[in-house]
Amino acid sequence: MAGASTRETYGKTLVELGKQNKDIIVLDADLSPSTMTRFFAREFPDRFFDCGLEEQNMVGIAAGLAASGKTVFASTFAIFASCRCFDQVRMCLSQTGLNVKIVATHGGITVGEDGTSHQAIEDLALYCSLPGFTVVIPADAIEAAEAVKLAAATYGPFYIRLGRAVTPLVYSESYQFSLGKAVSMRQGKDATIIATGIMVAKALEASDTLAKQGIDCSVINIHTLKPLDEEAIVKAASETGAIVVAEEHLAHGGLGSRVAQVAARKKPVPMGFVNLGDRYALSGKAEELLQRYGLTAGDIVEAVRAVIKRKQES
């Protein structure tokens, strides 16, 4: 699979949006060379504000601008965009519903060598807990561009998690993104792998491996964690009778928890979970970390086989 950087795509998409809409304002917290908001800053210096290392202040400023009619994109690393300013996000964005898009880069453990302090693995739980927020994790750069454009066109607070590393492309340029709608990537009958973000590519790889072993899997990309496409989850549970959820996140409060809640309410089936569990990761190369902490295609394969076994036993 060819690859591209979701954050670089974000930076370029912002410039496009800036040309179309003069009310788009971009904020950053001293990370614009990394979040790629620097492209926008160069093109539209009057509409870019570097808030320095003041994430809490940045969220408040974003809210004030949005309350004055602006569409605000505010970027920093996912760890700071979630944990550092959660109260500000709750008060100023969730409770108000203001039109601010938190686009956070360097999400998950694949930020790599910077280590535990920089690995955002609780961000999805935090943002999904907030009423009124739309939470999106694009699977690749093509989806990232579409998600950012749709966020700009949709009123209300968004959290979009992007990665640091180059991500394999799972879509072609003709891909049509639909907010809140899960994407069926593969159709199978034995089990469904539901994945988000970088785990979508891993899920596709796993389904290839499983196919060779005679196991026919569905693969679904849930790019929008909130609002959740419950219909797609119920359909997958009904059609395949087993679900594995894969995400680059802690075990609790992310996609796995959310899918399990839907299944429990509407169509309980045996479920498996591929995630980081209840622990922090350490420094290392992205791929090494994915290996070490159980987020590979191989881990998904094992989880699928286990869940099918449970299905057969039940």
Binding site: F49, Q56, G60, Q95
Partner: protein, 288 residues
Amino acid sequence: MLNRTETSSEGTPPSNKFDLSVPELKGMAKKLRRHVITMIATAGSGHPGGSLSAADIVTALYFKVMRHDPQNPQWQDRDRFILSKGHAAPILYAALAESGYFPVAELSTLRKLDSRLQGHTDRNLTPGVEMSAGSLGMGLSFSIGVALAAKLDHRDYKTYVLLSDGECDEGQTWEAALSAAQFKLDNLVAIVDFNKIQLSGWTRDIMNLEPFAPKWQAFGWHTIEIDGHDFDQILAAFQKAEKVKAKPTIIIAQTVKGKGVSFMENTAAFHGKAPSPEEAERALKELE
């Protein structure tokens, strides 16, 4: 939820339409203080001390200083008042009701289920409320966003933000202090209701803020120090702030916690406690 679509400036007043004299402002401040007491006593909970200390500043803004139109709360060119110390919601509600944003009778619904007047301010529920507040230290940041928008849109409205001294404990206040100076926001005026008492005691004992004005000066602000209960000084300070260029202004208003009610003055006891019916009666008598 309120319709928050901004409306254009046609047919709206160019300046404060009340334009009260100083004696009239004193009368209005007393009236607002009475509302505060009655509202909180009726609700059975709330924060009287910090509403009473801010009463004169809020009165001056709504009835003399600010350009605003209660019939048109979303008027694009209105001066903005942002209450960062959200627990002083009652004094803001009283000013909004008396200036005509909603009926005065509604003040008695404070803190009740389904009321538009929440315990702490909610911009989506109450006409005239600019910011949802209650978690301290956030208002200055929000105000910077509002003031930046004015610059971006070439609008000449002013952004006024009222902080408590206690919330200057919050680190975010100082993040915002740095950035307002960085962005040269001379259309932003902060007022600190320096009543010297926070929830559990005197600020000097809990977390000393002094030397206070020099801190703001060092952060790049123009500072003005006044008696926050003297209308001549309050009005003069706002006039001086108009003339400051290329930097934000902070008015440090020395105030008395619980001002106007003898047994609420200079005590933390009524920071977050409602007066009993008997105490409310005594308070209202003092405010006649």
